[in-house]
């Protein structure tokens, strides 16, 4: 610790260079945090484990195809099912088709839905209010906050897949991870469009146990293997991962970009440290003449490199934390609003950013530190400047 003031003074010996290097670490670290947060959001389970007993049953060919509602009874007969609910994508438009007005709208069976999606908690309104109102809807708190919606407020959805206009009354505001969707009673659509009745998009099934989660997908799909249409059943997690994979190999791309950024800041920091050590060859030889051990010199140069990277890294993390609310608010007004609702400040991403800074600091300093410590004193003293 007694060498720390000396290390600090060395760090800012060339102020412009040090500040530029700090900047070249700060900004990439910020980008890494943004990318890491997107990656984390893409790969995490929004139900945080509570969805592990949920299965999604859909048409084997495509999500856009329907399956008969009559499948419900046959699926239930397989046993091990706590509850299941219709879960139909409505689409349509709210106000207009602009990006800022895009959010998920699903038709469900309220009573059953609340048993399947049991992590949802009402923060305004009540479940009975919603269940008893056929034109009622519940909205996620992120969505309610975005539009300033209140319980009792009326909103209109104009259908496109389903040519009807839904005049819905908000009967509840729920909170859960990624609470950015609107759910309404599917019966409303069925009554307005009788031809739709009996055909649904998906079933969400809540299994009773882990063994049932393992067993049911195979048994459900086997049950309808020769039926028209056949089904595809998967866990909620696999179902969501399927959407992510539809974006292409986004995770691979983001990971690749992050890796490249780490490599670039490593080169920049290493160059700075190499220059710093090269300029101090004589000075280091003088220190060793005074009796400084090789290990002390090694520690001082590594410490300097580590401090440089940590200053840049922590500044980058702080910049990210400070700008995060604005970043999220901006995303909420884009077609990624549903995805953005699940974005938060993940401690693991911040820890990874900090880890990157430590890694860069140590790796960037190790070669100059070893070379400085190993150079002979007499060679060092012969250098001029």
């Amino acid at each position: 610790m007694k060498y720390l003031p000396f290390v600090f003074k060395n760090l800012f010996r060339k102020k412009t260079r040090s500040l530029l290097t700090l900047g070249s670490i700060l900004l990439p670290l910020f980008v890494i945090c943004v990318m890491g947060t997107l990656l984390k959001t893409l790969s995490r389970d929004p139900s945080e484990g509570r969805g592990m007993y949920r299965l999604v049953v859909r048409h084997k060919v495509s999500l856009t195809n329907f399956i008969p509602e009559a499948y419900r009874e046959r699926i239930f007969q397989l046993g091990g099912i706590q509850e299941m609910s219709i879960w139909c994508w409505f689409g349509g438009k709210y106000v207009d088709y602009s990006a800022k007005n895009q959010f998920a709208r699903f038709g469900v069976e309220p009573e059953k839905f609340l048993k399947v999606f049991d992590e949802a908690r009402f923060i305004e309104g009540t479940a009975p209010d919603w269940i008893s109102d056929r034109a009622g809807a519940i909205v996620g708190d992120a969505l309610a906050k975005k539009y300033g919606w209140k319980v009792g407020q009326k909103i209109t959805l104009t259908g496109d897949i389903y040519p009807i206009t839904l005049d819905l009354t908000i009967r509840g505001i729920y909170t859960a991870e990624n609470a950015s969707a609107l759910f309404f009673n599917w019966t409303y659509v069925e009554e307005a469009l009788p031809r739709v009745k009996g055909r649904i998009g998906t079933f969400y099934v809540k299994a009773k146990s882990a063994a049932d989660v393992e067993r049911l997908p195979k048994q459900i799909d086997a049950l309808f293997e020769n039926a028209d249409p056949p089904t595809k059943t998967e866990t909620e997690k696999d179902f969501q991962n399927g959407f992510v994979s539809m974006l292409g190999n986004v995770k691979f791309m983001l990971t690749g970009i992050c890796t490249a950024i780490v490599f670039v800041i490593l080169l920049i920091a290493a160059n700075t440290m190499a220059m710093a050590a090269r300029e101090r060859v004589t000075e280091i030889a003088v220190l060793r003449t005074l009796g400084y051990q090789k290990s002390t010199i090694l520690g001082m140069i590594l410490g300097e490199s580590l401090l440089l990277a940590l200053f840049g890294g922590v500044a980058g993390l702080a910049f990210f934390v400070l700008t995060f609310p604005g970043f999220k608010a901006w995303l909420m007004n884009t077609p990624m609003a549903g995805f953005a609702a699940g974005i938060k400040l993940f401690p693991s991403v911040l820890a990874a950013g900090f880890g990157v800074a430590v890694f860069v600091g140590l790796v960037a300093g190790v070669v100059p530190a070893i070379r400085s410590a190993r150079r002979s004193i007499t060679d060092g003293l012969r250098q001029v400047g």
Binding site: P5, F6, R13, G291
Partner: protein
Amino acid sequence: MSSVASVINSTTGTTLIRIDGLVKQYTRDTQVLTVLDNLSLTVDEGDFVALMGPSGSGKTTLLNLIAGIDRPTSGTILVGDQQVSSMSEAALAKWRSANVGFIFQLYNLVPVLTAFENVELPLLLTNLNRARRRKQAELALSVVGLADRMDHYPRQLSGGQEQRVAIARAIATDPKLLVADEPTGDLDSKNGEEILVLMERLNSEFKKTIVMVTHDPKAASRAHRLVHLDKGVLKEDVHAEKGKAVGMAAAISASST
């Protein structure tokens, strides 16, 4: 610097440095260059020795070997009771920090540190606490007459003042031995004279043993003893009386050019 004087006074009069059959060779590609050839020499405690000779005669190499910053090819160097030539690198570093003070031609102060912090550098290697380090560094700076400049950075000091800070750094840990490589080589005559007076004082008042490499007859004339090297061989070793030393040093210097 009373503590310095007391330590040194107790050991004055005995041999501090004993060099026997010292050989130093460098290998450049396939060529072996002998810089010091079978050199033997003793230096008593409290002595003030000037190493003179032409460029390439091995003066600085000898100085480096005595100070333990270079290794001999063969031969032995005993400083006090330590066989410097056979110590491990870590042990040598520790030994240097406690026993040898260095004065360089170009001062070699750390530019980002104040005079005080430069003098404190060797003290950081000791077990002294912060207050004791401060006291010791202030004492060293007061000995060289720069107690009022301790917060100045090297760029704010003249060449002579920088060299005096370097001397304060050299004596901060109260070493027995001071080695100086052309300490006045980068100074004008007035500042050079002040540095030589200071070194004389360190030798006479604080009983520091000084081994100094110099080309300057005036600097050498301050020494008690002139050792003349040529092509790595000890050519002359003269104990000088005050007043006669100037002439002898001039003669050696003239023969070196």
